[in-house]
């Protein structure tokens, strides 16, 4: 399995607490690019029944350290660093 069919998912704040992880290597379901909009479903299937689904509803996403507005338009091909971005509370 090439490293390029995996992505790195970063978890912060409530998403990290729910999963018990700060990062996770996630294998894409097939060699076809995966729409970012489908990643929630995949992550929840990896972490059932721990509140992640509710948390993801309030989260945004970043890919390669860039915030993403339109998750439908972003395709994950493998190798990307994707972050779950909960509502921020700095300052």
């Amino acid at each position: 399995m090439s490293a390029n069919t995996e992505i790195t998912v970063l978890y912060f704040a409530g998403a990290s607490t729910a999963t018990g992880l700060t990062s996770e290597r996630v294998r894409l379901p097939s060699s076809d690019p995966l729409p970012l909009s489908s990643l929630s479903e995949l992550l929840v299937s990896l972490h059932p029944n721990n509140g992640l689904e509710d948390i993801l509803r309030t989260c945004q996403w970043s890919v390669e350290a860039e915030m993403v507005e339109d998750t439908e338009g972003v395709m994950l091909k493998g190798g990307e660093e994707v972050a779950v971005i909960p509502p921020v509370s700095g300052g």
């Binding site: 912060f12 704040a13 700060t22 970043s62 509502p87 921020v88 509370s89 700095g90 300052g91």
Partner: protein, 167 residues
Amino acid sequence: MSSASVDARDETELGVAVLTHGPLNVEHIVASVADDGAGATAVFIGTTRNSFKGKVVTKLEYQAYSKLAIKTIADIIADAHASFTPLTPHTHAQSSQRLIRIAVHHRLGTVPVGEPSIVIAVSSPHRKESFVACEMVLEEVKKKVQIWKREYYEGEREDDAEWKANA
């Protein structure tokens, strides 16, 4: 703690963005925006308060997606400068309607009660712009920067500590 929540720094002529696990030094941060053309420096210091809605706060913990947070802060700094630069800067009076340097330092990790978690300093030739820009930068940081705060209360289990949200 997250390996993505690390110390980071980005510096340009416009200013500096810093994420650090060490204490914030106000004197040093103010000095970093000093300029002989500045008549005014506005500073904001956010500290860990000892209470929240009647509950005793024992500490705050901050984590960041440092790589992205530092870029977001750099963008906020650039935007603040742009909003104070006239589109046609051809008179001397107009050039005074500007900012000189902006510093944003945010602390990561544990911030005990009474210690600063954020320091923002804005220097400009005149006072009005420094106040407006300092407040603007703070609000933008609270709205956009990928940093998260966990608040720990006396008498509550640490596992139950609440992740806050600014909005």
